[in-house]
């Protein structure tokens, strides 16, 4: 009989069920009513923003756009759990986190509108911009966490990645590095069951994604990612653990991509309506709204007022976005290096002359 030399469990944390009923231990946040209300407002706001962004794309006013529909509890949960001095490493759909952390709606639109100024983040100094090459951001987070560690700063780096992203070598290398140096990092897998058209079962034979932590010697936790209270409960612990120098955690958040992958995708090609309908029954806003409403912390009237307020803000952001002129061709050159090398200066002049000669290309 072989002896057992190591042993691992993967826990799943839930607080509320799909109807907002309590089904697990509630975190302290559950009694912090003002924060909870702010979080719900932010979830609603990003849902409204997302709807508008898709509409802008459909009407030819925005490029390809990646919707965050269905991820609101996870994204706002992350945003609200981090401190300003922490650093966030997104993929390309975590607007709920970004808005909380100072990124503007107009910046998000600029990015998807094909304008680098969208990643300049006027009011968010150190968060990374969107990481489109899947998995790469994980290493940046470990690197940032290493910097915090070496400088003895009480800051945490948090990276998010999709279920598909967990197949990338960079994902694993980042976890392993974080383990070796016991870095102040939190890694969140947004398991929304699909990587474009590839379902989780074709992505990995692992029964959970949380267990991928075991490979790096990290704790891995599964959480209902549509359950804001559970998300915060797990994240608060993981972030606190990281901040105290006790090392990184991998959190697998179970959620669902209710939208197409991006506006360039048509999910009906590869997944059935019933599956999506079932997922809608689990979506994150309903249950938190009900939890709050039943405790007298949210009313229909409030929802109406807040929705109107958000729509105004969104319209203003859209106006700001649409009013933003084309960047100067000079911008292509001026941020390539801190100072412009001679050869590039000549190309810059050539480019400006070419535009001058024929402004329409």
């Amino acid at each position: 009989m072989p002896s057992i030399v190591a042993h691992f469990d993967v826990p799943l944390v839930r607080c509320l069920d799909a109807e907002g009923r309590v089904v697990g231990d509630l975190p302290p946040l559950a009694s912090d009513t003002e924060t909870l209300r702010a979080i719900f407002r932010a979830m609603l706001r990003v849902r409204l923003f997302d709807t508008k962004a898709v509409a802008l794309q459909r009407t030819g006013q925005l490029g390809t756009y990646a919707s965050c529909l269905g991820h609101e509890a996870l994204h706002v949960g992350i945003g609200s759990a981090l401190r300003p001095e922490d650093a966030f490493f997104p993929t390309y759909r975590e607007y709920g986190t970004q808005l909380w952390r100072g990124v503007k709606m107009s910046e998000i639109l600029l990015f998807w509108g094909g304008d680098e100024r969208g990643s300049a983040f006027a009011e968010q100094p150190h968060d990374f911009p969107w990481a489109v090459p899947i998995g790469t951001q994980m290493l940046h987070a470990s690197g940032a966490a290493l910097a915090f560690r070496l400088r003895h700063e009480a800051r945490v780096a948090l990276a998010i990645i999709g279920d598909g992203g967990t197949s990338q070598g960079d994902f694993y290398e980042a976890l392993n590095a974080a383990g070796v140096w016991s870095l102040p990092a939190v890694f969140v897998v947004a398991n929304n069951r699909w990587a474009i058209s590839v379902p989780l079962a074709k992505q990995t034979a692992a029964q959970t994604l949380a267990q991928k932590a075991i490979a790096a010697g990290l704790p891995g936790v599964q959480v209902d990612g549509n359950d804001l209270l559970a998300v915060r409960s797990v994240l608060d612990d993981a972030i606190e653990r990281a901040r105290r120098g006790h090392g990184p955690t991998l959190v697998e958040a179970l959620t669902y991509r209710l939208s197409d992958h991006t506006t360039a995708d048509d999910a009906r090609r590869y997944r059935g309506k019933e599956e999506v309908d079932r997922a809608w029954a689990e979506e994150p806003l309903v249950r938190l709204r009900r939890f709050l409403a039943e405790r007298g912390l949210w009313t229909e009237a409030e929802e109406k007022r807040w929705t109107e307020r958000c729509q105004e803000d969104i319209e203003e952001a859209v106006r700001a976005y649409l009013a933003t002129g084309k960047p100067s061709p000079a911008d292509m050159f001026d941020y390539t290096f801190a100072t412009l090398p001679a050869g590039l200066a000549a190309q810059r002049a050539e480019a400006l002359a070419a535009v001058e000669a024929s402004p329409h290309g």
Partner: protein, 325 residues
């Protein structure tokens, strides 16, 4: 015969080889039920089964590495990288193994694989979806690099790439995927990988380009023709190893050369071609040769992509400079 687009021609070639060679296997992200993000593989899994058209986990180094192992064991894998901006994790496997296995085993093992990828800017795509990085692969010994510029050449060159006994990186210009239609006969006839294609004959100046930029280059030739200048337009097609005979023969007649590509200028293939022509036909040149290229900057997001890509005007202006030179 119906006219089809370039991406349909790719699909036709893939289907042809799947039907005729049981060793051919397709793999990549979203190429199965979804038919590829550009629809290049649409219908193929349904037709040939999950054992011939494989959706892979999301990892490009993995895709290249698997293809190498499959190829060395006798299959002919045709792997898709979803966009050329995501091809970089394959570089290690391509240079250290794919291009190397034949020579390091003195022919015992070889790697008859194809790595297909959409390439280039101009379709208002998101960040990292518009790169031109063919020069990186052209610098790899033992690796062929091919790019078509019409539906017919897409069909014929892709067949050739799949049948080639060595690794081929096959760049498909996204901007051309649906731009033109052409009659393409599904006759299984491959085009040669050791020759350029002369798309337009001319005595005054030689314009060399490839992929999507062929489009602007031909237009530039048209503009030049309006002022009586007859430009010869050569589609490089196989970017490595390069068929210099066709280019040198043309330059020997015209004495003037412009090379056009979308990739950044420094260490791009334009430099390679100008250099080789300068070395071997320096005395044939009536004027200094010129490159018209993307600038040495990151491919910008789409608001500026047209300012980045060589325009017809820039090509014409360069040609005139060379003609006056």
């Amino acid at each position: 015969m119906a006219k089809i687009t370039l991406v349909e021609a790719i699909n036709l070639a893939l289907a042809h080889e799947l039907a005729h060679d049981p060793a051919v296997v397709l793999l990549g992200e979203d190429i199965g039920p979804n038919g590829g993000v550009f629809r290049a593989t649409v219908g193929l899994q349904e037709r040939f089964g999950e054992g011939r058209v494989l959706d892979t986990p999301l990892a490009e180094s993995m895709i290249a590495g698997l293809a190498i192992g499959m190829a060395a064991m006798g299959l002919k894998p045709v792997a898709e990288i979803q966009f050329s901006g995501f091809i970089y994790p394959t570089v290690d496997q391509m240079i250290n193994h794919a291009g190397r296995l034949r020579t390091r085993t003195r022919g015992r093992l070889s790697v008859p694989m194809v790595l297909r990828t959409p390439s280039g800017a101009g379709i208002h795509a998101p960040e990292h979806h518009s790169e031109s990085n063919e020069a990186l692969f052209a610098h790899m010994p033992g690796v062929r690099v091919v790019t078509p510029s019409s539906p017919r050449r897409a069909y014929g060159l892709l067949l050739a790439a799949i049948r080639d006994p060595d690794p081929v990186v096959f760049f498909e210009p996204t901007r051309l995927y649906r731009l033109h239609k052409q009659e393409v006969e599904d006759d299984g006839e491959a085009l040669p990988l050791d020759t350029c294609f002369v798309l337009r004959e001319g005595r005054d100046i030689t314009l060399v380009s490839w992929g999507a930029m062929i489009h602007e280059t031909l237009e530039a030739a048209h503009v030049l023709a309006e002022t009586g200048v007859e430009a010869e337009v050569i589609d490089l097609a196989t970017l490595s190893p390069i068929d210099y005979e066709t280019i040198l023969e043309s330059v020997a007649r015209t004495g003037r050369l412009v090379v056009v590509h979308e990739a950044p200028r420094t260490a791009g293939l334009g430099g390679e071609i100008l250099a080789e022509v300068a070395e071997r036909a320096g005395y044939d040149l009536a004027a200094p040769p010129v490159r018209v290229t993307g600038y040495d900057v990151v491919t910008p997001l789409f608001k500026l992509e047209h300012e980045f890509m060589p325009s017809v005007n820039r090509i014409v202006a360069a040609a005139r400079r060379v003609l006056e030179g």
